[in-house]
Symmetry: C2
Subunit: 338 residues, 2 copies
Amino acid sequence: MAEKKLGSSTVCLTRNISIMSGASVVGPKEGNGPLGAYFDLIIQDDKCAMPSYEKAEGEFMKRAIDLAVKKSGLHIEDVDLLLGGDLLNQIVTAAFAARDYPISFLGLYGACSTMAQSLAVGSLLLESGGFDTALCTTSSHFSSAERQYRAPLELGNQRTPAAQWTVTGAGATVISSLYSSNQKLRAVTLGRVCDYGISDTNNMGAAMAPAALDTLLTHFEDTGRDPSYYDLIVTGDLGLLGSQIVREQALSRGLILDDKYMDCGAEIFYPEQDTHCGGSGCGCCAVTLNGYILEQMRRHVYNKVLFIATGALLSVLTSQQGETIPGIAHAVVIENEV
Amino acid sequence: MAEKKLGSSTVCLTRNISIMSGASVVGPKEGNGPLGAYFDLIIQDDKCAMPSYEKAEGEFMKRAIDLAVKKSGLHIEDVDLLLGGDLLNQIVTAAFAARDYPISFLGLYGACSTMAQSLAVGSLLLESGGFDTALCTTSSHFSSAERQYRAPLELGNQRTPAAQWTVTGAGATVISSLYSSNQKLRAVTLGRVCDYGISDTNNMGAAMAPAALDTLLTHFEDTGRDPSYYDLIVTGDLGLLGSQIVREQALSRGLILDDKYMDCGAEIFYPEQDTHCGGSGCGCCAVTLNGYILEQMRRHVYNKVLFIATGALLSVLTSQQGETIPGIAHAVVIENEV
């Protein structure tokens, strides 16, 4: 049975939960970025020959799910349940993708924290003994997100310096307590909602940074560890500004992150790709984890990884009603078996 | 450790998980309905003196959370995590409510299946041993749902005969494996996404009925039980039409539901309240469970209850793009300890 210190938010997993496979499917801009070589599939037509960007996003997710299942060596029938969500209203990308798979579905919403949330919930469900194998997935699409959250694409609005570019891509991970691999999920830390009063919807990094820091500090307090335990501490999509805030605020609390720390949003595009503060969206850390990070773990470049994904829990309506932007961050610990 | 037959969707819980309390908070129309006497709090001002219906919905949820914690005899600090969701885009009711509580938050989206989904996921997380006590919550509000999904309230649109009336209300349930009560969560069945091609957004009952039936049949197949095992089989918000479909289709498959079967949507309003096919929304079964059903279990009117909540996984955009309406249903088994 899992272990938890009373009153903490961190659960140490004891059931030998393996990552069987990870798949990453991206659009052309992501394919041309620094991590391009690590992605399983780069779809040059970001509309996937579909009649809308929303339906295209569904295609990205389904390709990622199919690839993850294929890479795991399992069949979809071997997977007990699908856990996922996305940024679209009523998480329709995940819900409509799930329609194509004859297995149980749990819809999650944690905005851009969904990759970590689905891995955390998925591994806890395996830990319960009730399920053996789960598929965790999320996606985002620049064109569906932009027109839902901001403005019609055709307007060609000027973007502010703090803005980030929503990643077009989907990631999927097959995890199992029945089948085994060298990559293990060892612990999860479930985050709290944090709101430091940021209301600029073009500065998500600053809105989410407090949640990332809160989960980071909680994780170290709960586990008694410090950053030296990990080879890599990675946040989801804080971007250049948000990750700088986390680095500085962690330092002011005695946590030296140094070059162990990386943010997927800050890494996924080249500066000359003109994304301002970097990448964002559920897909950002989903493809970076399932593409780059898991591959680097297989090569033993990293053996102990703390993966923290952050989400901004706003809606268009809450911002229009003058609300600030609450953030949340969930974390999972992935380790190579020695 | 939980038990599951391989390939099934049903988990039998073994960790003695108790329902410590349930709270129900409703608006005036629900308070005037047949179940009015069972609700903890009837708020006559359905705007809760807030500047918008969306913020009012948040107040309903927070009142339900506070009441559930109070009724459980615990403090919010005794609760490890909050699981919840709602119908608003980006589940902002739950996310903004969670901001007020210093505990971990997991956002869920299962449309009107959220009460069962949060109880199912919550009890599986307790089953994992990682957490001891959880709070499961959901809400809906007629005025916030109507203007998000359909049309501005001021239009006063004519409603079709198959339409249902979104319940204004919130429910919250405290569950625990550390503290104990006479009401136990014994099993969960996680549903699949089902789509039988219904595209009429004013006929949610018909869209969700196949999912309810699928989960019902799966549950009986997985457990080897038949309806005779239960005192009450209850669906969430299929309404008069949807529940009639489930009753007939179950019968055609040899399951006689008879007077053991009830649908919260069909029960929550009087015919003369002019809601056409009855109530709907996440709040419908949430307040019926936490108000009426748990109270009737305490009185031993019911001792074994199969609670199935259904969700329609559409968005305004998917309907505008010509999509049909996928449904999902999750189930939990609640039993009095003999």
